[in-house]
């Protein structure tokens, strides 16, 4: 358990029973979570789960119905804090929302102005990001002439022109072709290396698993939160699969004496649930060898993030 004082120093986003209702519809229900400084936090959930609503509340674009939220050092809720919060965050919305009749450079420069950056700061950051994202040669081209991938990269650059502490990204790779999506993912990983705090809304499980330090699964309510590995284990735990040359009754009896859980036999293969395979597997191997068995392979498996996700989301629907 983290010390609360330390937690306060390192949490960049904190919500406590954060709720948003639209009339009778509850879009976000009692959301409690923390995102650490420098962490990439993935928010997974189906369409309509409340991911965008959460981001909008945290970006002070819409109000909360109840609960509390803090972004950086500021509580979400007051008009004064809203302006302070917007200064330290960057938002990449699900629609890139670029000014298509402005050039790439003009788009960035305009936003730099809105973030009260000086001329020299804007010039420097515009050039840095356009070069970093491979758009420098296209700086004088209208954003409307860009491909989807280029637009998405420009939208990310736009959200970073003021060097924000926290970056909110809402489905940054949705509707992108695989190559563009890969480019965007690589850029997010680059930002991760720069220790930016990133709050990433996605419904791409593979993306979440590859990029995020921790993942929250939301379906109006927060169903689970943890590292991708923790979420995978949370569903079925881990399993040890032992492949034998010949599986017979004495071997099965030997394993039963160890009181293994959920033993399943399939041909010459036996699968059992394990909590700590490093401690439990040697005992099983010894028992099998003592019973005259010859082991070909021992594999430890866990359920996939996809399985975990679907189980949690479907449980919530029921």
């Amino acid at each position: 358990m983290r010390n609360e004082t330390v937690s306060w120093l390192f949490d960049m986003i904190e919500t406590e029973n954060l709720t948003r209702k639209f009339g009778d519809l509850t879009a976000v229900d009692n959301l409690t979570l923390r995102v650490d400084k420098g962490e990439v936090f993935g928010f997974l959930g189906p369409n309509g789960a409340g991911k965008t609503t959460t981001v909008r509340m945290l970006c002070c674009l819409i109000s909360k119905t109840s609960g509390t939220a803090r972004v950086g050092d500021y509580d979400v809720g007051s008009r004064e804090n809203a302006l302070k919060i917007r200064k330290i965050i960057g938002l990449v919305p699900d629609n890139v929302g670029l000014y298509e009749s402005l050039t790439a450079y003009e788009n960035l420069d305009y936003y730099g102005t809105l973030y009260r950056r000086t001329n020299s700061q804007r010039k420097e950051s515009n050039e840095y990001f356009l070069k970093l994202l491979g758009l420098w040669e296209k700086r004088d081209s209208l954003a409307g002439s860009f491909s989807k991938g280029m637009k998405q990269k420009l939208a990310i650059a736009r959200a970073l022109v003021h060097d924000p502490e926290i970056l909110f990204m809402d489905e940054p790779t949705a509707n992108l072709d695989p190559e563009s999506a890969k480019t965007v993912r690589e850029f997010i990983l680059e930002l991760k290396n720069q220790k930016k705090t990133i709050f990433l809304n996605t419904h791409n499980l593979d993306e979440a698993q590859r990029i995020c330090d921790r993942i929250g699964i939301l379906n109006t309510r927060l169903m689970a939160v943890g590292t991708p590995e923790e979420l995978e284990r949370s569903i079925h735990g881990r399993k040890t699969v032992i492949q034998l040359r010949q599986l017979n009754e004495p071997i099965l009896d030997a394993l039963k004496k160890l009181q293994v859980k959920n033993m399943v036999r399939e041909g010459n293969k036996v699968t059992v649930d394990v909590v700590n395979p490093e401690e439990e597997n040697p005992g099983m191997v010894d028992a099998i060898v003592a019973a005259g068995g010859r082991i070909e392979t021992v594999t430890v498996t866990s359920s996939s993030l996809e399985e975990a996700y679907f189980k949690l989301v479907r449980e919530n629907v029921k």
Partner: protein, 243 residues
């Protein structure tokens, strides 16, 4: 409110508008066309001497420039707001530390400046051309500028321009395309046309007192709509209730 931010927003708006040929033609070309056409009309009317109805005719034409000021700003204001809504550019804009007032004012400045300046420029061309024609036709004095034209162009036209923008902003919250916003904003053209019809029927006279009263009424409506717009144009409303 940071005073220079609205100007930066207005500068961006004008840059975008400057690249939209139809909006530019409408806002710059139309007033110039009116100036040229009615200067030629003055020339035709004075072909056989100074007409007896010179005052009514000249003021009628100046009032046409007021009508332009009631229509043109709404085209830019509607594009500036509904256009952002259609192109999904509002959300990232609203996520910046810019206040609702700064955004609204910036867009208002852009929508106001171009049409009002082009209206003034076109009216000046018309007045100069008319004076030249009238002097040559035998009028012994410069007809323009005069108090009626001054009140119409420098008081009523800007107030009508502001009204046009206010209505366009209100309309923008209810429609999902620029044309729809323009159509709703165009409704405010009606009371201004009614004044023109009333003048034609002899029920209204273009004199300084009447024009000041009319301007006063328009300014009161401007203030009321401005308060309404402040409650309509806020982040929560835009992101959750605007169509």
């Amino acid at each position: 409110m940071t005073t220079w931010i609205p100007w930066m927003i207005a500068r961006k708006e004008l840059k975008v508008i400057g690249r939209k040929r139809s909006i530019m033609f409408y806002n710059v070309g139309l007033p110039l066309l009116v100036a040229v056409v009615f200067s030629l009309e003055i020339k035709n009317l004075t072909a056989s001497g100074i007409p007896a109805s010179l005052q009514f005719g000249a003021e009628f034409i100046i009032y046409l420039f007021v009508l332009l000021a009631t229509v043109l700003p709404s085209t830019i204001a509607a594009y500036s707001i509904v256009g952002e809504k259609v192109e999904k550019t509002l959300e990232p804009l609203l996520a910046t530390p810019t206040t609702d007032d700064e955004i609204l004012l910036g867009k208002g400045i852009a929508a106001f400046l171009l049409p009002i300046i082009s209206t003034w420029a076109a009216a000046s061309i018309f007045m100069a051309a008319s004076d030249f024609i009238l002097i040559n036709a035998g009028l012994g004095y410069y007809y323009f500028p005069n108090w009626n034209a001054g009140v119409m162009l420098f008081l009523l036209a800007p107030l009508a321009g502001v009204l046009s923008i206010e209505v366009a902003v209100l309309a923008s919250s209810k429609v999902s395309d620029v044309r729809g916003a323009n159509q709703i904003a165009g409704l405010m053209f009606i009371p201004f046309i009614l004044i023109l019809i009333a003048a034609g029927e002899g029920l209204f006279t273009f004199n300084v007192v009447n024009l000041l009263i009319f301007s006063g009424i328009v300014s009161i409506i401007d203030v009321i709509l401005s308060v309404l717009n402040k409650s309509t144009f806020n982040r929560e409303e835009i992101l959750t209730k605007w169509k």
